[in-house]
């Protein structure tokens, strides 16, 4: 089953071509990382997946249907910042998804329905390791915790596709490692299709199951906007599961240890 398909996709702003003839087929369950220089259209592509932008030519399909022209609950998103609501505690940030779905008029739940939403939200907070901070406001959380919260919030709607726009770009390297482990775990267990835009090439190469590189192939110095970016590399990262990855890493690690020992002798 395909999650996202692009056929001869173009995106232009007036005379400026941003994306040029993109063809892409992403089956459900892939973890696609997207890298590229600034201004190469990778964020534009993500915004098109989100429904914030629409293509000027070609087709973009979500499943088998055209991509909706506005954001919706079938595509979850985590931005680098401003992803969570500052006026709600962590728990309420996660609960709000169920409240919006069940109470169309007031957006609030009461009584038993509220208790159930609360329990579900607590479970989700536990899954991302934030259950101890349920009653804190986002401003009281560290950057990593805020991103955990944003992920928990996005997963409440069980989206088919999860879009990550440089989600760990502002985090310390150590925290970033933890976040990688978390997102890989969630991806495996929930069978998500993930698109992640990143600036960090290392992250792009190691995290996902497939790496896309966006780049401009042709340049016209007289008219910088004349040509758009295309997908210049589409690299399958042969990693079927996190277990396999761990296995490989352990073996490689063990081999390295052996090597070190031998060298020491």
């Amino acid at each position: 089953m395909s999650a996202v398909t692009a056929k001869n996709l173009w995106k232009e702003y007036g005379d400026d071509v941003v994306l040029e003839n993109i063809n892409l087929h992403v089956p459900a369950g892939e973890f696609v990382t997207i890298v590229g220089a600034s201004g190469c259209g990778k964020s534009t592509f993500l915004r098109m997946l989100l429904g914030e932008e629409t293509q000027t030519r070609g087709q973009l399909l979500l499943g088998d249907a055209p991509m909706p022209s506005e954001p919706g609950p079938d595509r979850g998103v985590v931005f680098q910042k401003y992803s969570v609501f500052p006026h709600l505690t962590a728990l309420k940030n996660v609960m709000v998804a169920d409240e919006l779905a069940s109470a169309r008029l007031t957006g609030r739940l009461f009584g038993g329905a509220r208790r159930r939403a609360r329990e579900r939200a607590m479970e989700m907070l536990q899954a991302v390791g934030l259950d101890h901070a349920a009653d804190k406001y986002p401003s009281e959380l560290s950057g990593g915790m805020q991103q955990r919260l944003a992920i928990a919030q996005a997963l409440m709607k069980d989206p088919k596709v999860l879009l990550l726009d440089e989600p760990f770009g502002a985090l310390d390297p150590g925290i970033r490692k933890d976040m990688h482990a978390l997102i890989l775990d969630l991806w495996q267990r929930r069978g998500l299709t993930v698109f992640m835009v990143t600036h960090d090439l290392q992250e792009g190469f190691t995290l996902g199951s497939r790496l896309l590189v966006f780049d401009k192939v042709r340049h016209d110095p007289q008219a910088p906007g004349a040509y758009g970016a295309n997908i210049t590399y589409d690299i399958p990262l042969q990693r079927q599961s996190a277990e396999l990855y761990d296995e490989v890493r352990e073996r490689v690690g063990a081999a390295e240890q052996e090597l070190l020992k031998e060298n020491a002798r």
Partner: protein
Amino acid sequence: MKRIINQTPNRPTGLALGLLPFVLVLLVYMVASAARLAENPNDPLLPSLSAMAEAFQRLATEPSRRTGELVLWVDTAASLTRLGLGVLISMGMGLVVGIFTGLIPYVRRAFSPFVTVLSMIPPLAVLPILFIAFGVGELAKVVLIIFGIAPFIMRDVQQRVEELPTEQLVKAQTLGASTWQIMLRVVLPQVFPRLLDATRLALGSAWLFLIASEAIAATEGLGYRIFLVRRYLDMETILPYVAWITLLAFLVDILLRLINRYCFPWYGGRRS
């Protein structure tokens, strides 16, 4: 020696520095007043502090000979009612119009230029129109306050709504929120503390419009009293009244600050 921009006073010094201008003004006044009164004990321009305190106490505790009312409290109640009504209605209008123009592009295109032009009309210039249209009763005074501050609050709230990060609105949509739910759960709670801030800023103008309209046509009110006794050069009443109005304005400001601090704990935390 550190640069002066790097030198900060400690707490007691800071407090003393803050009080210094008040004390200086008071001293200058007392000296000037004493000098004038020494020359002419009946001089009305700079009454002594004790004379003012006496006058204030009389207004606050002794029924007026003419109407049998406690003048200060009647004036205060009348003025605060007008001010409160005008400010509350302005806040309501500002919140509703500001949220709709800030969030919905069609409404913004339709009303935003109109509100901008409306806010440029000097309110005092239309005061005669208000008196003609609404009579010289309470309505015209309340409408003047609304006319004076509602457009400002509308524009401020609109701007605060537009300042909300797009990411939040997108996020809400990916959680399945409708436009109405976004207004109710994302925009309204975040804009409310900002509405109180805008109101605090608008209160100065609100007092101005209140006193102006009371000065022109009223039968009671703080502004009315000041302009009434002006004819008799009754500084013993005017000066304490000005101080009283200042105190009231100060207290309202503090009240709004406290509401913001205790009702929206996330708000201050985000700014710091």
